[in-house]
Amino acid sequence: MKRELTLTINGQPYTGVVEPRRLLVHFIREEAGLTGTHVGCDTTSCGACTVLLDGRPVKSCTLFAVQAEGHAVTTVEGLAREGELHPLQQAFWEQHGLQCGYCTPGMLMTGAALLERRPDPGEEEIRRAISGNLCRCTGYQNIVRAIQEAARAMRGAAEPVSAGQGAAGAASAARGGMVP
């Protein structure tokens, strides 16, 4: 009944013996012990479990683990390189693109896939791209901004952007006022 399974996660080979009904997300979380990929629903609605399968974003609660046989999975734990935050992670942090953090890994994976495909996405395009990932904390605005900011950083452009959350935000907030 159980099936042997071999795949790579974040470049590491994993072999396991799983029931055919085992969902990929449970394999990632329990067999591989990578708990950064979260479960929020079981209807492919919330996107908290988004990972990359051969570079494409998939909802790992909607794939059986055996469907990933021979494929390359990337999870949030695979984003940082040698301890350094990925530009997208860095941008989410600096642009306040996360609060409770539960949707964040899925959001990051969707964002990473988008930027791989489209190095300079517009706001509407980003909002469409993340419309399969629910966030209940942020109102999405800073997530959109973070993805734009990461895009800029990844293109290597030197132009500084959105100082608003930093010094300018502080200056305006000193007397109250608008926070961009």
Binding site: H38, C41, D42, T43, W93, H96, Q99, S131, G139
Partner: protein
């Protein structure tokens, strides 16, 4: 503000969250990530009936299923009331729990539990439930205020000795003056009924808990909760244990919004005690919808009168809150806010909390307030329109000020409603209100009285020169970063040199629950005092080492030096090492602060929204949003703005998309995230956050709570915008496209 304003090093400068990296790397630990050795998995068996007698529970098939360790019913647990006993009161009422070696095996076996039910008449509509002769929902338990409501400061007072209609579990009445005389003086009187649907908090992380019992029966409970001490107390009370025998470990919370107060912990703890192995109970999404405590549906009948000059003459209201199968709705706070936002001499408000056979109601971001302000602020716009008054001036004229009586007779403390209205009045967006075809703007006010709960804090200087701040309040909003900033400000350190820890209820000083917009307001001052205490100790020790008077010393950049003699100095790290080594003659640096705030600090917001109505489909799209809010002082402005945007997005959800729908038999029809539509990035516009700072007299650096207010005015702002766009009004949230089409057709 005046030039005498103190200048801050840290406060008011946006600071990325200190918990950012761990959440971004996927290394933050949520409760479902825990796998203690020997872990068992529990799965609930839920009632499919809204109301039924439980005739028999046959567990024999489930017990024999692979991997099953136990199948427990009410009688198997101590105490017995943790599962349904003999009768179920809502679809989703837990009747048994299956415990197995894996989650999948527990789920398989739960299917094999055979329960024989005898269905009983279900009462689902609160207004029908109130009629004389309606079936009794259940024998009313003794009066008990909901923990969650109390934690939110949502228990509102008011006369409660009113006669109770059938199935009403609470009645609140506020009266002032003579409403009939008030209506007689009015030039316009408007009467309408508003309805708000029940909604779920929609936290993406479902409810979950892991419990483990020691051989002596004492417990460790890892849980996703807004209140670790509240959980400890509630579990201890339910299980009949002394509090110290329970250690609650608050895990990273994947969203709560009022929904994560004591729920599964006593059951998981009782199962763990019974089985002697750690037990994990994490709800799947369907069970989360069925078992957790939604925001209650409300019907608000409102009648208000005003004179041509814009003064209000009378307000009369009747509120009915559907509390589901247990008492604990926020009807009291809704009644208080409905009558407490504007100056009106004649008031008569009656609020009823009514039991029905549905999931018991709970708290959700400003419990009761979104419902109340949907009615009040829709009505204010109507009155302004009828009397041909500017809607903003009309509100400004009547807005409560500090010292004005609330409906319960107590005076409002300092509040910034007028300042918010003035800020909006002067804002270019209000002046211009640019609108395309089928677009319109609407404004609305909303407020929250602000919660209170005592808190203590510790502040320890560590040998690396950093501070460890100990608190007992859970961080659900970024509050830990703000608390770190408070300590950092006191010490002149960078915020990342401060760690805020809340390890467990054994080691943390007491802190209240994170709810009611009160963590920064109540825990912040304790942290401030603890840091000041530690700073005093640092200066005393440094004075001795540097042979100088403490008042001649300055603390800057992690170093204490004699003013004017920078060479005579000692670092914080050196002082910490001096006072923590073997044989040292100096006491360690450890500051304490403890505070019981007695005056709440209300938070008011004014929203301006633009919508576009699709005349073909009746769909409403939000195309612009400005949220003006009095935040006292923004300790971390970007995170305050983040709270505001998140609150607005939730308000948009409950106004346009979300609704818990029960069928005629009491079945919840949309208990999943495919049918229950939460707003996506496509549904939410850019939201401009405008911070007004009316300092709270007792708040840390003037700060007050900010989490609740932004979710409150949204529904009325959108309803008012719809009327501006297409000339018709919706009195029910969520807006139904077919209702809007129908209304437009009727209006021609």
């Amino acid at each position: 503000m005046s030039s005498a304003e103190p200048s801050f090093q840290v406060i008011g400068r946006s600071q990325p969250r200190l918990d950012g990296p761990e959440k971004l790397r996927g290394s933050a630990r949520y409760v479902a990530d825990l796998h203690p050795a020997g872990l068992l998995h529990a799965r609930l068996v839920l009632s499919p009936h809204a109301h039924a007698r439980v005739r028999r529970i046959d567990t024999s098939g489930a017990v024999r299923a692979p991997g099953v360790v136990a199948v427990l019913t009410a009688a198997d647990l101590e105490p017995t009331g943790l599962l349904a006993e003999g009768e179920v009161f809502y679809a989703g009422h837990p009747v048994a729990v299956v415990v197995a070696e894996s989650e999948a095996l527990a789920e398989d076996a739960a299917e094999l539990v055979e329960v024989a039910y005898e269905p009983l008449p279900a009462v689902l509509d609160p207004e029908e439930a109130m009629r004389p002769g309606a079936p009794l929902v259940r024998e009313l338990p003794e009066e008990h205020a909901s923990q969650a409501m109390a934690a939110h400061g949502a228990a509102a007072g008011g006369a409660r000795d009113e006669p109770r209609p059938r199935n009403a579990s609470d009645v609140v009445r506020f009266r002032r003056g003579d409403v009939e005389a008030g209506f007689a003086q009015a030039d316009a009187v408007i009467e309408a009924t508003y309805r708000a649907a029940a909604v779920h908090q929609g936290h993406i992380e479902t409810h979950g808990v892991v419990a483990e019992a020691a051989p002596d029966g004492s417990l460790t409970i890892w849980t996703s909760t807004q209140g670790s001490f509240d959980t400890r107390q509630g579990t201890a009370g339910t299980l009949g244990l002394e509090e110290h025998r329970i250690r609650v470990v608050p895990m990273t919370v994947g969203g709560a919004f009022g929904g994560k107060f004591l729920l599964l912990e006593p059951l998981a703890a009782a199962v763990a005690r019974r089985l002697g192995r750690p037990v994990r109970l994490v709800l799947d999404r369907v069970q989360d919808f069925l078992v957790s405590r939604p925001s209650p549906a409300a019907v608000i009948h409102l009648k208000m009168g005003a004179r041509r000059d814009g003064s209000l003459t009378a307000l009369q209201a009747r509120l009915v809150f559907d509390s589901g199968a247990e008492p604990g709705s926020p009807v009291g706070i809704a009644a208080l806010l409905l009558g407490g936002t504007y100056r009106v001499a004649n008031l008569d408000i009656a609020g009823y909390e009514v039991l029905t056979h549905k999931s018991p109601a709970g708290a959700y971001r400003g419990p009761g307030a979104p419902q109340a302000y949907f009615a009040l602020e829709s009505h204010m716009d109507r009155l302004a329109r009828r009397l041909e008054l500017d809607p903003l001036d009309f509100r400004l004229r009547n807005a409560v000020r500090e010292g004005d009586p609330r409906p319960d007779g107590r005076p409002w403390p300092r509040l910034g409603l007028v300042e918010c209205l003035e800020r909006l009045r002067d804002h270019p967006l209000w002046k211009e209100r640019p609108a395309g075809p089928d677009e319109g703007w609407g404004m609305a006010v909303g407020g929250w009285p602000g919660g209170l709960e005592p808190a203590a804090a510790g502040c320890r200087l560590d040998p690396d020169g950093t501070l460890t701040v100990q608190v007992g309040a859970v961080d659900i909003t970024g509050s830990a970063t703000s608390l770190a900033m408070i300590a950092a400000e006191v010490f002149g350190l960078a915020p990342d040199r401060v760690r805020v820890v809340n390890r467990d209820t054994d080691s943390s000083p007491f802190g209240g629950s994170a709810g009611g917009s009160k963590t920064v307001y109540t825990v912040g001052p304790a942290v401030q005092r603890a840091a000041e205490d530690a700073r005093r100790q640092v200066l005393e020790l440094a004075a001795e080492r540097l042979e100088a008077a403490p008042e001649d010393l300055e603390l800057r950049d992690g170093r204490v030096s004699v003013r004017g003699v920078p060479s005579r100095s000692v670092t914080l790290a050196e002082l910490a090492r001096l006072s923590t080594r073997f044989g040292s003659r100096y006491a360690p640096i450890h500051g304490h602060g403890r505070v019981a705030q007695r005056s709440s600090s209300p938070g008011f917001a004014v929203h301006l929204a633009r919508v576009r109505v699709d005349r073909e489909t009746g769909e409403v799209r939000v195309t612009g949003f400005l949220a003006v809010q009095d935040v006292g002082r923004a300790i971390n402005p970007a995170e305050v703005a983040g709270q505001i945007r998140g609150g607005v997005a939730q308000g948009i959800g409950r106004t346009l998309l979300e609704q818990l729908v029960w069928d005629d038999a009491g079945q919840l029809l949309d208990a999943n995230l495919a049918d229950y539509r939460l707003p996506t990035g496509d549904d939410v516009p850019r939201i401009e956050a405008e911070l007004v700072e009316v300092p709270a007299p007792d708040g840390p650096f003037g700060a007050k709570g900010v989490g609740e207010p932004p979710a409150i005015p949204v529904a009325a702002a959108l309803a008012n915008a719809v009327e501006a766009a297409v000339g018709v009004r919706l009195n029910e949230i969520p807006f139904r496209p077919e209702a809007l089409l129908e209304a437009m057709k009727r209006a021609g």
